[in-house]
């Protein structure tokens, strides 16, 4: 009897029951293997992994934020999966989603959860503001937000604290034609496009088109404003669709791609399933991984949690044929990932700090982003 321990992220209250159900199904088909599932709150997952790994008591399989992978690789903690994957297995995936989990030509993480971001808009408010189908460009956003303000609402929800404060700025950066790293791999936060996009957010705040007190709003806080029907537009992830449908069923809202200023772009992110190198039951663990990435378990997981399909078969499933999911799937060609470099957590923090300084008017975009670029360059050099 072999026991495979699995650490999963707590995405919703359905996550743990889902994995337990999968474990049961798998155990029935594979007598001799026992699956032990432990679910951990997303906010404490990294900390738990740190402590487990340092103490040598980590599970065999774990869900991780893909951006943690480079650091885990440097510590040689993750088993490369190429030896286990045959071409048929590889072909199951939508190609773009495999890339973030790869490094030096090897695959270390499999995309278990993926999302891209779109702009959510309140149909009633936007119709009154003259954009019944939502904005398509940033100047649409400005115009619509001004009218929404006149009508007594908040135009554009801007997130200013905690996780993904940096990402909220990347939307503007990318759509203005900017990049995170330049061709030499150096941070390009202070490029003209970057300054322009920071100034855009600054002027949104300056004109009072966002909710007041941007730096006290986390992602959830902005979503809550939207759910209360007080916010015209916000950028968020597909899983908010499920929340909106459940929590405010009467509300009329729509989704459009991120507003453009010359280029279409959105942020994509994946969470990966990895196999730890120190696992003593790798074969059995792989069997379970293989099972999780077959069609039925994938469809059940992705549709229940409100993520994007990452395998071809699930993408073709009728469960994802509704127009809302399609509108996210259609954004995939313009999707961008943050660079997988080791110091990314540091760099993201520098960008968040810079944006907070801009939002609070404590620094000009040039100063703040210049400082962030210098910090990021230091962080990149260290590794």
């Amino acid at each position: 009897m072999e026991t495979v321990r699995v650490t999963v992220a707590h995405y919703s209250n359905g996550t743990a029951p889902y994995f337990r159900q999968m474990a049961e199904q798998f155990e029935r088909a594979n007598p001799g293997i026992r699956i032990k599932v432990e679910d951990v709150n997303w906010d404490s997952l990294l900390q738990k992994l740190q402590i487990d790994v340092a103490g040598g008591v980590n599970a065999d399989i774990s869900i991780i934020g893909t951006r943690w992978l480079p650091e885990m690789l440097q510590d040689d903690l993750v088993e490369p999966l190429d030896g286990y994957m045959d071409p048929a297995f590889r072909a199951r995936f939508i190609g773009a989603f495999l890339t973030p989990g790869q490094a030096q030509g090897k695959t270390y993480g499999l995309p278990i959860a993926a999302s891209v971001r779109g702009l959510f808009y309140n149909k009633q408010m936007l119709a009154k503001a003259g954009f019944p189908d939502g904005p398509t460009t940033w100047s649409d956003v400005l115009q619509a937000a001004r009218r929404i303000k006149q009508n007594g609402g908040y135009g554009f929800g801007l997130q200013g604290k905690e996780i993904e404060t940096d990402v909220y700025w990347y939307y503007a950066l990318w759509t203005h034609g900017g990049e995170l790293l330049d061709a030499q791999g150096k941070p390009a936060f202070a490029s003209p496009a970057a300054i322009k996009s920071a100034k855009l957010y600054q002027s949104l705040i300056g004109e009072g088109l966002t909710q007041p007190g941007v730096t006290s709003y986390s992602r959830e806080d902005v979503q809550n404003l939207f759910k209360q029907g007080r916010l015209g537009m916000m950028i968020s992830a597909p899983f908010v669709v499920k929340q909106l449908q459940k929590e405010v069923p009467g509300m009329q809202w729509g989704i459009v791609p991120i507003p453009t200023a010359g280029r279409a772009a959105t942020f994509a992110t994946t969470d990966s399933l990895i196999l730890f190198k120190n696992s003593r039951v790798k074969r059995s663990a792989w069997k379970f991984i293989d099972f999780l990435f077959t069609k039925a378990p994938r469809v059940a997981f992705t549709s229940a949690e409100g993520f994007m399909p990452t395998t071809q078969e699930e993408a073709a499933d009728p469960a994802f044929a509704d127009p809302l999911t399609r509108s996210f799937v259609d954004m995939l060609p313009t999707a961008r990932f943050t660079p997988t470099v080791q110091a990314w957590e540091d760099i993201a923090k520098s960008v968040s700090n810079a944006m907070q300084a801009v939002y609070l008017n404590r620094a000009t975009p040039e100063q703040a982003l210049g400082a962030a670029a210098a910090e990021a360059e230091q962080a990149l050099k260290k590794n």
Binding site: Q50, V53, E71
Partner: protein, 289 residues
């Protein structure tokens, strides 16, 4: 065996255990601070004083150090200033005194994290109790963004800090007051001393050991106090409300630099040791004066 050695032998096992329990973490911290440690606790090599120099050139660390001093002085000083009159009042015999004492103690019984969460809600700009009350009283006409910038968030956190340090300080001072003999006040009154003179010349000197204890213990607690700032602002926005202990947590667990975090905790240990040593040195002089 001489009788002088016997007591040492008797306490040796517990002494050894205590040394191990205290010594091991300190040793481990020192080890980590001198090595390059990855986020996942893997030792990558000897770093020399690299972690320390890394901190000393970090402008956030300097701002944080200064802020920690402001935080400690303001919270400890503030809670002492408020606790003293409170303790004096609660020491008087009046109807409902035990109820009043219980009310003062209650915040102590609630976990610090929970208190901080409640205050985070209270300071919320949209539905927070603070803004709603101030608006109802007509003090402000539109909601104030309490936690959006350090200029308001940090003072608010200091106020919460004072509030949660008060119960302990009041308890200590009350204990002190009950040990002051009442007849010296009678004698003072017969000599015609005013209430202020009685307070300054009798109460304060007899309370001195208790005030000292309150200062030393509070400094250690407050200096190391994590939940209020972490729960309310996580050291943000833009690193502007960090104190050393929240910054070291961020370095260790968010930015993945346990080595630098260990270096900061050693520096904190040194600061507290220096403070305690200074305080002990000052004691006899004060008593002699």
């Amino acid at each position: 065996m001489t009788s002088a050695r016997k007591p040492w032998l008797l306490i040796a096992p517990s002494l050894a255990l205590a040394l191990f329990i205290i010594g091991y973490p300190v040793f481990h911290m020192a080890y980590q601070s001198l090595h390059e440690i990855s986020r996942f606790g893997v030792v990558r090599g000897f770093a020399g004083l690299g972690n320390f120099t890394g901190i000393f050139i970090d402008p956030v660390f300097h701002a944080t150090l200064l802020r920690t001093l402001i935080w400690t002085v303001a919270v400890v000083g503030g809670s002492l200033l408020i606790s003293m009159p409170l303790a004096l009042i609660l020491n008087q015999d009046f109807h409902g005194r035990s109820l009043a004492r219980t009310i003062i103690m209650l915040p102590w019984a609630v976990s610090l994290t929970m208190t901080a969460i409640v205050w985070r809600w209270a300071f919320n700009d949209e539905f927070g109790m603070v803004n709603l009350s101030l608006q109802a009283l007509g003090v402000i006409d539109k909601p104030v963004q309490w936690l959006a910038s350090a200029a308001l968030a940090f003072p608010a956190e200091i106020l919460v800090g004072i509030m949660v340090s008060m119960p302990f300080t009041v308890t200590l001072l009350l204990g002190g007051l009950s040990s002051v003999p009442q007849d010296i006040y009678e004698a003072a009154r017969m000599e015609g001393a005013t209430a202020w003179q009685q307070f300054r010349l009798l109460t304060v000197p007899s309370l001195r050991p208790f005030i000292n204890m309150a200062v030393v213990l509070n400094v250690i607690y407050v200096f190391n106090s994590f939940p209020i700032i972490w729960v309310m602002t996580q050291g943000g926005p833009s690193n502007s409300t960090h104190i050393l202990v929240t910054y070291l947590y961020e370095l260790g667990f968010r930015l993945g630099r346990p080595g630098q975090a260990a270096a900061i905790s050693l520096i904190m240990l040194a600061i507290l040791l220096a403070f305690t040593w200074l305080y002990i040195r000052m004691q006899p002089k004060e008593e002699a004066a």
